[in-house]
């Protein structure tokens, strides 16, 4: 899976949560990715997340949620 596609998809999720508070957005992004993304996609996103410039800051914060890495 291409990194740029995963980054785009993750950032799209973040954009939905724009009107919510940052805390809610971070939790919502993490919950969505945990519930809908297959583990190999999550693993790749976590790998991208380390030092990624293109990822929305809210996604980067969501990657700390243990639900994503489970």
């Amino acid at each position: 899976m291409k990194d740029k596609d995963l980054i785009r998809m993750a950032n799209q999720i973040a954009s939905f949560f724009t009107p919510y508070t940052d805390e809610e957005a971070v939790a919502g992004i993490a919950d969505h990715i945990a519930k809908f993304w297959e583990p190999r996609m999550r693993k790749q996103l976590l790998a991208i997340g380390v030092g990624a410039k293109d990822l929305d800051p809210l996604v980067l914060r969501a990657l700390n949620d243990p639900a994503i890495s489970a």
Partner: protein
């Protein structure tokens, strides 16, 4: 069962809480107020001779055959136009009536050819029946009436013919076209003996605006309008009740047969979805089932460049099993997956998802709803608590305002459109939100109060603007919201939507819809009384598809338009069993009944029932499978009746993904674009060979009954069960009914469903369980499935697909009436006489500045690819927007669509692609490769 005609009560059923008692020929009868005397008589088995009346049409009173005598009343009124009165005493058979009826029949027969033995209606002619009922023995006026002898039969329509010599001018066809179909294509032309049925402006049927729904043919009491199949084959001898396999309306049909050969399909009056109506596809386009192209033997090949080898079922299944085992051994359990089909029955879908979870050992199962209504599932679950439309189709009869958004019902859901148009003719107001001027905007006796002609990709801007008006102009149904919705989420949404950024004036810049028009439409929707929303893929197939579905739900909740007749949020599902395929657990994150795979209690219930440990993580969605195939971690796929290589976006990427896999197995009825990349083809079955159920857009579970044996000898569920067995999982059923029994045991919303129940009741709408043993026509009546309705914040976010100097136009795609999706079925019928190729609609200005004339070959290019097709210049599309369909593989419409998708579900953004259009004199490179591949596949 042997052929038995449906009872015709003569006039429509009336609904009333008041009942009227009367006597007919000495029998006590009790019927709803407003019923006709004719209907009351028929209710107690007394059939009054008739010709111009039928219970699908309002009484007309022209044939003068259904006369009765009423005690205390002078004269002999026609029973069809006489309403019942309390205490009336009716006589249907007196000497006077017999004499009068015989006289009327003499007049009819004097003007009708006596060719009964060679007439196509012989054995099914109401004129013949009526002559027998009245005891006609002579015709005093002779038989030389002016019945237009020698007049040419109009055989222009591919499916039925019009023979004016047989016409008795009862006007049933004219009234059916108007009252039932709502097209108004027919009239009675001329006067006196010259009177005859006329199509359009005195044209042949094919040249007129007739949409070939078949309502006129069904209404005709003689052989005047007759199916060509009956003319060629004769009358049927038996009938099987079944369900159409085209769109999500899910019409019930009587398959009328000679042996196992279909003679005609007639819409069933008892069908809950269609109540006796049909469209050109379901009524006539069933010939593909016996088309010469059907795949009737399993096929295998080692490499996709090899020729196909016809093999036995055992060899094909062993080949599949061996390849899948090898892949999993080498690349892991998650390296294979499957996709279910919305064309297949609930039972067939169930076994595929079960095979994936229990035999593959993963959750890599998805369905074609991924590319159409997956945002509906997500959005309605978030707001209401379950993934389903809220109403039955009949509900629209109570609507005072209807908002049709991103849907084109007259083309894509024509039988529902007829119901809708009837209600609009009765005065309900219509709001259309669509970039194109669809037919509903202005059609006979229907004109939209507001056409919100938004720019593609700006749905959320429009729905937010509508909601902004509701909130800021005090149009919220405060009582409903307080009683039925979460207070906190509502308060927050109210504050959000009231912000100036969501006002019609601010969002006009994005959407292109004048603010005044939005404000007026919002007031209509919010104040009409009962306001209903019907939507289609123009809502879902966007990068904000799920957001838009939530926006629709927000608007309905805020205005209290949920939980009763005439209101609701109603997805018009594209395919016959989209709802069912989703219900049956086809999504990679959900078990049947929309329960997440990580829910331990749910997973345990399936593990206990299936005797196997199940995986608790979500699987890959279709686009994720393709991406994984390209990076080498996904190597095998079982594809049930899908044609990705034509239907899915960015086709060249799909082709590359399919080419990258080691084993692609396709279960289908024809070789397709996708089978060009397959290693195994397992012959599928058409709906005429299936035994099972479909669930339509109103959650109605209908029986699908076989009229013939599977062409290749195995049903689809048997094939899947054998693959699962080969993989080491013991999947076994004796019949499809057993599968439904398992579905009912494991799916709470289906708990009460069984074939026995459906055979008894005809159909049932889920939830069907202990709380609702007869089903649930309208959902969320007293409370939402999730308890309180949840308002979601729906910020408008512009799509990433932008026009620029290189690609200055937007392309949006859709379908038309006569063809269906990728055309696999309809292209193999005479429906192609209406639409033989996909064309590009372009606005006159956009065409003019490019030097394009109507019919020119043009190139359509996006950043993804290029195709060539012919231009159709029309102001139906606004300036800056182009439109095409994807019914023909050689068009390659999805060569130009992009990888962009809905944020929540990955539903592709088919509806917005930045393109350039220009004159060309050649097909595109992709199309040239397509033709080479087609020749190679054909062995030339």
């Amino acid at each position: 069962m042997t052929l038995k005609r449906e009872q015709d009560f003569g006039t429509p059923k009336r609904a009333s809480d008041t009942y009227i008692s009367l006597k007919v020929d000495g029998h006590d009868v009790r019927v709803p107020e407003g019923s006709s005397v004719m209907r009351a008589a028929e209710e107690v088995g007394i059939s009054i001779p008739k010709l111009c009346s039928t219970d699908k049409l309002e009484a007309f009173g022209s044939c003068r055959l259904c006369l009765v005598e009423v005690e205390g009343q002078r004269g002999t009124p026609s029973s069809c136009t006489t309403p019942v009165r309390q205490g009336m005493t009716v006589h249907t058979q007196t000497e006077k009536l017999k004499r009068l009826r015989r006289g009327v029949m003499e007049l009819y027969i004097s003007d009708h050819p006596l060719e009964c033995l060679t007439c196509s209606a012989n054995g099914d002619c109401e004129l013949q029946d009526a002559a027998g009922e009245v005891g006609l023995r002579e015709v005093r006026y002779g038989y030389d009436g002016a019945y237009h002898p020698g007049t040419e039969v109009d055989a222009s329509n591919p499916y039925f013919q019009y023979d004016p010599t047989k016409c008795i001018v009862c006007s049933r066809c004219v009234r059916a076209c108007a009252e039932v179909q709502g097209t108004f294509a027919l009239t009675i032309g001329a006067r006196g003996f010259e009177s005859k049925v006329t199509a359009g402006m005195d044209e042949d049927f094919m040249s007129s605006e007739c949409v070939s729904c078949g309502a006129c043919v069904q209404a005709c009491p003689t052989a005047t309008l007759m199916e060509k199949s009956i003319v060629e084959m004769g009358q049927p001898s038996r009938v099987v009740e079944t369900t159409c396999a085209y769109c999500g309306v899910g019409c019930s049909f009587r398959a009328e047969l000679q042996g196992d050969e279909v003679v005609r399909m007639v819409p069933s009056k008892e069908g809950g979805a269609n109540e006796g109506h049909s469209c050109v596809k379901g009524r006539f386009a069933w010939g593909y089932a016996t088309h010469k192209d059907r795949v009737t033997s399993p096929l295998i090949r080692d490499r996709v460049t090899d020729p196909w080898r016809e093999v036995s079922w055992d060899e094909a299944i062993a080949f599949t099993v061996d390849r899948f085992k090898e892949i999993q051994a080498e690349h892991g359990k998650g390296a294979i997956g499957a996709v279910t089909s919305s064309r297949c029955t609930n039972e067939e879908v169930w076994v595929v998802q079960k095979m994936v979870r229990a035999a593959f050992g993963n959750n890599n199962v998805d369905t074609c709803a991924r590319v159409c209504h997956s945002p509906t599932g997500y959005g309605l679950k978030q707001t209401f608590g379950t993934s389903a439309g809220t109403q039955d189709f009949r509900s629209v009869e109570q609507a005072d305002a209807v908002m049709v958004i991103g849907a084109n019902p007259t083309d894509a859901h024509p039988v529902f459109a007829s119901r809708l148009k009837k209600r609009l003719r009765e005065g309900a107001k219509l709001i259309v939100a669509d970039p194109r001027r669809i037919d509903l905007v202005k059609t006979p006796y229907v004109r939209a109060a507001h056409h919100l002609q938004l720019k593609p990709g700006t749905n959320v801007a429009v729905i937010n603007a509508l909601a902004h008006v509701v909130v800021t102009e005090g149009l919220v149904d405060e009582t409903f919201v307080a009683d039925r919705c979460e207070a906190e989420s509502f308060a927050r949404w109210k504050a959000f939507i009231a912000q100036e950024m969501n006002s019609p004036e601010t969002l006009e810049k994005a959407s292109g819809v004048p603010a005044d028009e939005v404000r007026a439409a919002a007031r209509v929707y919010a104040t009409a009384g009962n306001a209903a929303i019907y939507y289609g893929l123009g809502v879902t197939e966007h990068s904000q598809g799920s957001t838009m579905v939530m926006g629709l739900a927000n608007l309905a909740m805020a205005t209290g338009n949920l939980g009763r007749d005439g209101v609701g949020v109603n997805p018009l599902r594209g395919q016959n069993n989209v709802q069912g395929a989703c219900d049956m657990g086809s999504f990679p994150h959900e078990y049947p009944g929309y329960r997440h795979v990580s829910d331990d209690a749910v997973r345990t219930s399936f593990e206990n029932a299936w005797g196997v440990d199940l995986y608790g993580e979500p699987g890959l969605r279709i686009p994720n499978m393709f991406a994984a195939a390209l990076d080498g971690s996904f190597k095998g796929m079982f594809i049930q009746g899908e044609d990705f290589a034509q239907s899915d976006p960015d086709v060249q990427n799909v082709e590359a993904a399919l080419e990258a896999m080691d084993c692609v197995v396709v279960q289908d009825i024809f070789l397709s674009e996708t089978t060009k990349f397959a290693h195994v083809v397992l012959p599928g079955t058409t709906f005429l060979e299936k035994d099972g159920t479909f669930t339509n857009a109103e959650r109605r579970i209908n029986r699908v009954r076989p009229v013939m044996e599977p062409k290749a000898g195995l049903s689809e569920w048997e094939t899947v069960a054998r693959v699962a067995q080969g993989l080491g999982y013991d999947m076994h059923y004796e019949n499809a009914a057993e599968i439904m029994d398992e579905i009912a045991r494991l799916t709470p919303t289906f708990k009460g469903v069984s074939f026995a129940l459906l055979d008894r009741e005809g159909s049932v709408q889920w939830p069907c369980n202990d709380a609702a043993p007869e089903g649930t026509p309208i959902m969320h009546m007293d409370k939402f499935v999730r308890g309180k309705g949840q308002f979601m914040l729906t910020q408008y976010v512009a799509t990433g697909e932008r026009t620029n100097r290189k690609f200055p136009l937007l392309l949006t795609t859709g379908r038309i009436l006569s063809q269906y999706n990728v055309g696999t079925q309809t292209r193999r019928t005479k429906n192609s006489e209406w639409h033989a190729e996909d064309v590009l609609e372009i606005h006159p200005h956009d065409a003019d500045v490019r030097g394009i004339s109507d019919g020119d070959l043009v190139s359509l290019a996006s950043r993804k690819g290029e195709v060539s097709l012919h231009a159709k210049i029309t102001a139906r599309v606004p300036q800056g927007v182009t439109y095409t369909t994807f019914h023909f593989p050689q068009t390659g419409a999805n060569v130009v669509t992009t990888e962009l998708s809905d944020w929540a579900t990955n539903c592709p953004e088919y509806k917005v692609t930045a393109v350039q259009v220009g004159l060309t004199n050649r097909e595109s490179d992709w199309q040239e490769r397509f033709h080479v591949r087609a020749l190679t596949t054909a062995g030339e």
